[in-house]
């Protein structure tokens, strides 16, 4: 069985939760076959035997790129917080965080 056939409506719902997206029932119906189509197209590489081929993460063979440990100016806090949807006391304000320690 190829992977794409395993993509169920529940998988899509799970992935949406992981990605912090809410999908309506109608969207689940729409997205599931669309994503399955793309994965079905990917069956061509799924079948390839590339176990002995190293993965490429970067197209360029650059290594060991560093900057010096030197201070550069930070940006003005008022400018930073002006962009925030909610701010208070020089900080970003968010609704209560559930299920986690502070």
């Amino acid at each position: 069985m190829v992977m794409s056939q395993r993509l169920t409506r529940d998988d899509v719902a799970h992935v949406a939760r992981l990605a912090r997206l809410r999908l309506s029932e109608a969207e689940l119906d729409e997205f599931t076959p669309q994503l399955a189509d793309v994965l079905a197209h990917a069956e061509d590489i799924e079948r390839l035997d590339v176990g002995d081929v190293a993965p490429t993460a970067h197209p360029l063979p650059l290594r060991n790129v560093f900057r010096d440990d030197v201070v550069r100016p930070s940006i003005d806090r008022d400018e930073v917080l002006a962009a925030a949807p909610a701010a208070q006391d020089g900080q970003f304000r968010v609704p209560q965080i559930l299920g986690e320690e502070q």
């Binding site: 992981l18 993460a57 970067h58 968010v94």
Partner: protein, 475 residues
């Protein structure tokens, strides 16, 4: 004291996060500094603003490799990865860390008592910002909310993961204590648990003694002092045992140490953290330190605490643990050289441990060595030596001149015996009690007599000699 009831064994591995003491953050030029006003050390990079890109701080990598080598690790070619999960303290909702190719692997740390604890890995990652809980203040219908400060976001960390080799709360504490000493010795972190620049998570499980299985472990977070490490681990191990005894079993979870109530509590729900979707960070390039880089780092490492303890223990013929106090105070080099110059090791250790807690002041090693010689040759009593020592520390000078100026010449033992006999004669009731007392009480009464002798001799008497005479008379 045993941590767990007989028949059980405690198993513990530690994950220690250590903030590196670089000038700037891991991926940008913002200051890496504790205690500044919220959100003042931020820029597009560490706020994760759209379009910004990370550029790696070379000094942080240098520090991480130093720490790796100090923990006897292999330094590898390494790759940064993104750990994806949503949390408001992470500006990009992923954390840059190292996953399958960490910088340091396969090291170890020797506890002062001798046991070797394996270090699985020590990898580089970025710190998160800080959220603080607020609200319930009536401003918005009493709603609760949190505030986020990103000053700490992007501060470089090394996470040191131990093997599950730790078998007691005491060992766990000793491990963290020793790790802290190493980090301080090589200068890569200020390692302050109270400021969070060193943070400890403990993976705790238990098993029946003699078994080799590994049972379900729980990760304890939020341990914020050296002393709470022991209590948290002990609590958690016994919680597991309680569950097993009741026919239940712990389930794998993250728990939090509740300092106020001295217990662990179930923490973050696992729904979010099950699947971190690690993949190589495309905005950063691999690290490939050369053999020359590693040789340079090795050469830059100072003698580490364990080696310093061993060195002092060897010359002083004491245990490494005994040498530990002096090493911890950074006074071992002085002691080592004084002994090397011929000073009596026992006296050197006693003086440094007891009389030189605040340092050597104006006193040079050579002067100290001559003073110890005067003492061991009985030219000065212990009390006199202590006084000369204090003056040398305060004002410098030569021990011979200081002793002479104070008129210190050791009393002849015959003179001392006469003084002792006179005091015995003058205090017959106390003497009778002294003779009749058991050893423990006799010691207390002896203090009274010794005080009278010192008063009579203006402190010139050698305490050891005085005690000998009294004990002879008592016998």
């Amino acid at each position: 004291m045993s941590d767990v009831p007989e028949g059980w064994e405690l198993i513990c591995g530690l994950e220690v996060h250590c903030e590196l003491a670089t000038t700037t953050k891991l991926f940008c030029g913002c200051r890496n500094r504790f205690g500044d006003d919220a959100n003042t050390n931020v820029c597009p990079v560490c706020l994760g603003l759209p379009g910004s890109l990370p550029v790696l701080n070379g000094e942080a990598v240098e520090y991480a490799m130093k720490l790796g080598r100090a923990l006897n690790c292999t330094v590898n070619a390494s790759v940064f990865a993104r750990k994806n999960y949503f949390y408001p303290d992470m500006p990009r909702d992923f954390q840059v860390t190292q996953f399958d190719r960490p910088t340091n692997t396969m090291g170890y740390l020797d506890l002062p008592a001798g046991k070797r604890i394996g270090v699985t890995r020590a990898h580089i990652e970025e710190d998160t910002g800080k959220t603080s809980h607020a609200g319930g203040d009536g401003r918005i219908h009493g709603a609760e909310y949190s505030l986020v400060d990103y000053n700490r976001a992007g501060v470089p960390l090394v996470e040191i993961v131990s093997e599950p080799d730790i078998r007691s709360a005491d060992e766990a504490k000793a491990y963290v204590d020793e790790l802290r000493k190493i980090v301080l010795a090589i200068g890569v972190s200020d390692a302050k648990m109270e400021e969070g620049s060193m943070r400890v998570d403990a993976n705790v499980s238990v098993r029946p003694a003699g078994s080799t299985e590994f049972r379900t472990r729980c990760e304890i977070k939020n341990i914020n002092s050296l002393s709470s490490i022991e209590r948290a681990i002990r609590y958690e191990a016994n919680r597991h045992i309680g569950l097993y005894d009741a026919g239940e079993r712990p389930h794998q979870e993250t728990r939090h140490w509740d300092e106020e109530n001295q217990r662990t509590r179930a923490g973050r729900s696992k729904e979010n953290s099950d699947d971190y979707r690690y993949f190589p960070e495309p905005d950063l390039l691999p690290l490939e330190p050369s053999a020359a880089d590693i040789a340079r780092i090795d050469a830059s490492l100072p003698l580490l605490p364990a080696a310093r303890r061993g060195r002092l223990a060897d010359v002083a013929t004491v245990s490494a643990e005994r040498a530990g106090l002096i090493v911890d105070r950074g006074q071992d080099e002085f002691a080592f050289r004084a002994i090397g110059a011929g000073a009596d090791p026992a006296r050197v250790l006693v003086h440094i441990e007891q009389n030189l807690k605040d340092g050597f002041g104006a006193m040079g090693i050579d002067e100290f060595v001559r003073l110890v010689a005067m003492e061991t040759e009985n030219k000065l009593s212990a009390t006199q030596t202590k006084q000369v020592l204090a003056e040398l520390v305060a004002a410098g000078g030569s021990p011979e001149e200081v002793a002479k100026a104070r008129g210190f010449e050791a009393m002849q033992s015959s003179d001392l015996a006469a003084i002792v006999d006179k005091i015995i004669a003058e205090n017959p009731d106390d003497w009778q009690r002294f003779v009749a007392a058991d050893d423990k009480d006799a010691n207390k009464i002896y203090g009274f007599f010794a005080g009278l002798v010192m008063k009579a001799t203006q402190g010139k008497a050698d305490g050891k000699a005085v005690r000998e005479i009294f004990m002879q008379r008592r016998a």
